[in-house]
Amino acid sequence: MTTTLPTDELSVIGVTRSFSVGTQLLQALQDVSLHCQAGSFTALIGPSGCGKSTLLRIIAGLDRPCSGQVMIGGESPLEKRRQGALGVAFQDPALLPWRSVRQNIALPLQVLRRKVPDQQERIDGLIRLVGLEGFEQARPGQLSGGMRQRVAIARSLVTSPSVLLLDEPFGALDQILRRKMNVELQRIWTTSRPTTLMVTHGIDEALFLADRVVVMNRNPGRMAHRIDVPFPRPRLPDLFSAPDFHRLEDEIAGYLYEEAG
């Protein structure tokens, strides 16, 4: 299932965001700039509280920057999301407990007032893509944690988004399941190649999936290092144990601990 979809480039230009905590002003993001080419996969990695999620929320139009701006294919996030051009998956799958898997995946279509029956084939295709055949009518309460997360991934893809935003989508899963989901996400992503930005805590996850890893520092939140990931696609599970992979892992870990220490 290879379809060419319109992808957009993503630009974050000088974004600053601060929160007031009590009397103190917390600088969550300071003058952050980032450019993601159309069809690229970028991983954002950094310690807790470095503003990764805040940045993602700003790109999704869920939060506003104090200054600076975000452009997606030359338009603002708010304009872009009305076209259904964005897809998101959070650490919390945020499924509606009263809806079946199929209905949960159809939710964005309903919001955008698109006809769900026309898309039924596509929805079933996504269910197959994330490996949930036979669970179309199941409710979230009847699924395991990993399965719920797959539903959330399928939902993020249902509008054929040009930009995909993932906020630690596998953060709540165990290491074994997480690695399995990484392999699957790569397979799913390769079928449509939306411009993707993923926030994560896992160095191996970032290296396995991304074309480029961006390391962030905190106090204030800012971009510290950018590492290009040279491994060709498709990447196979053996990559996790390749020496080059470990070398890059150590390099990134070094950037992270240098700041922590």
């Binding site: 964005l86 945020a94 499924l95 509606l96 309460g141």
Partner: protein
């Protein structure tokens, strides 16, 4: 700062001015709504009697508040430590919750001396909210710290001491907040038909015939003020201990699993249910037996049975009650539906239009704290003595708890679910229809269950004080004629009806929630 004060104070001042004008020119129901200035002037005239009336209501209310809460808290602890006791007392709890206080009041008056009817009725009204909220607080504990305590060999008592005691505080204090105005209401209700001269209830009852709207409104406002102070004191206390907690994740867990009972309990289920249904009758019988009041006055369950099925006029007695039921039941059902629809509509408007909540909340709070008996004469002054007045009283009684519960449900919709919709540019209405409303379905059900018994109470109060038919009137007449059998029968029927209402709504709730979570 000044701007903010102005923005909140200005609508109030304008409303007051409007009220003064409307009252001054007798625009509502031919002067039934008096001007604030007239009410203040009346206060000045009655300044000698008010302190005595207020104290006569406040003192038993406070005693009942302490007494009822003590029992409520003790039983809540017992229920947690020995869950079997809760199942046995389930019928008792529901009966206490569902008792229309107005039906209990004449019975307490004929059974108890002095201010004890007031104290007892206040205690009865206080019991349920405090017991329920304390129990919820004790039960609803994060399971992980429990595991930690168990790992170090702690038992049930250790969990209670280290964990539950602290975590039940917000619930307990929230219960007290609801209980405080209820205590005042109980004390006032028990003054009805007590023949006592002092107290706001007696004052109100005596003033209804005088055709002086200024005084009726004055008494109503005084009672409201009293209840509002009690509510505020408890709310301030509760605020110190309660942190607002909104769930961050969507609970998609399987409810079936948590409800599973061990096999040995399933077999004995019907036995427990039967016992739970019999316990209230046993308590009734035991209380009467221990009081040693004449069987002519104090009827046991058997005495009521005799009155309805075995004495000479038994069939007449039954017909009278059935006729009254025919008048009261439809009113209670219609009132319940209107109140729920109204509460849902306002709660929804509150989520769509934020300032609306700011405007409606003070008015709703007044409705909540205003003892409904004080409200009824005012409603009668405005709406007359017909069906409308009955419905308005019923809605006024049931509206606030329903509104609070539904609004709470709408406010607790998990944020990630709304974020997902935001990403696709959903409007407020779409978020409401697709997420907020279905997510708060359990709260809507809880609201219906909560206010179902209250709707019968509202109808009976309106009938007693205003319209002159139905169960409320039957009770009032029986009280006047010292027809003890009828007093007990109406009380029993209205309690049974309230419990039936409650169980019916619970059944609908169970079915709705089962469809909601699993396929």
């Amino acid at each position: 700062m000044i701007k903010r004060v102005l923005r909140t104070a200005l609508p109030g001042l304008l409303l007051l001015l409007l009220w003064e004008l409307v009252g001054h020119f007798h625009l509502v129901a031919d002067g039934a709504l008096p001007a604030p200035w007239g009410i203040i002037a009346q206060y000045w005239q009655d300044r000698d009697v008010y302190p005595v009336h207020i104290w006569a209501t406040l003192q038993p209310a406070m005693m009942g508040f302490c007494f009822g809460n003590a029992v409520a808290i003790l039983l809540a602890f017992l229920f947690v430590l020995m869950p079997v006791t809760e199942r046995l007392l389930r019928g008792f709890n529901i009966a206490v919750f569902a008792i229309p206080p107005i039906a209990l009041s004449p019975i307490l008056v004929i059974m108890l001396p002095g201010t004890w009817p007031q104290i007892m009725l206040a205690a009865v009204l206080v019991y349920f909210p405090t017991m329920l909220m304390t129990l919820l607080g004790l039960r609803d504990v994060d399971p992980r710290p429990i595991d930690v305590i168990r790992v170090y060999g702690g038992g049930d008592m250790a969990v209670l001491r280290l964990l539950r005691l602290r975590s039940c505080l917000p619930g307990l204090l929230g219960g007290l907040r609801v209980a405080a105005p209820a205590a005042i209401l109980g004390a006032i209700l028990a003054e009805f038909g007590s023949g006592s001269r002092w107290g706001l209830g007696s004052f109100l009852l005596g003033s209804i015939g005088q055709g002086n709207p200024n005084r009726i409104w004055g008494i109503g406002l005084a009672a409201t003020f009293l209840a509002a102070i009690a509510y505020t004191l408890c709310a301030l206390l509760a605020k110190r201990f309660t942190a607002t907690i909104t769930s961050v994740t969507l609970p998609s867990g399987n409810i079936e699993a948590t409800n599973a009972r061990p096999n040995w309990q399933r077999g004995t289920n019907w036995l427990f249910s039967a016992a739970a249904a019999l316990v209230p009758f046993f308590i009734w019988w035991a209380v009467i037996a221990s009081f040693g009041v004449s069987p002519v006055i104090a009827k046991t369950p058997l005495g009521v049975w005799d009155y309805l099925f075995r004495t000479a006029g038994a069939s007449d007695n039954r017909t009278e009650i059935l006729q009254a039921l025919e008048q009261s039941l439809p009113m209670a059902s219609i009132g319940l539906f209107i109140a729920l629809g109204f509460a849902l509509g306002l709660a929804v408007m509150g989520t769509i239009w934020r300032t609306f909540t700011a405007v409606i909340m003070p008015a709703a709070l007044v409705l909540q704290t205003m003892p409904l008996v004080a409200l009824t004469p005012i409603i009668v002054l405005i709406f007359g003595r017909g069906v409308t007045a009955t419905l308005v009283v019923t809605v006024a009684v049931t509206f606030f708890p329903a509104f609070i519960t539904i609004a709470q449900g709408l406010a607790q919709v998990p944020k990630p679910a709304l974020d997902v919709l935001d990403v696709y540019g959903a409007g407020k209405l779409q978020k409401l229809l697709l997420v907020s409303l279905p997510a708060s379905l359990p709260y809507l059900c809880a609201a219906a269950r909560l206010v179902a018994p209250a709707s019968l109470l509202g109808v009976m109060i309106a009938e007693w004080l205003a319209t002159g038919y139905g169960l409320g009137e039957l009770l009032n007449v029986a009280r006047g004629e010292l027809d003890y059998g009828m007093i007990w029968s109406v009380a029993l029927v209205s309690v049974g009806l309230s419990v039936g209402f409650y169980q019916l709504v619970s059944l609908v709730e169970t079915i709705a929630l089962r469809r909601y979570r699993t396929a």
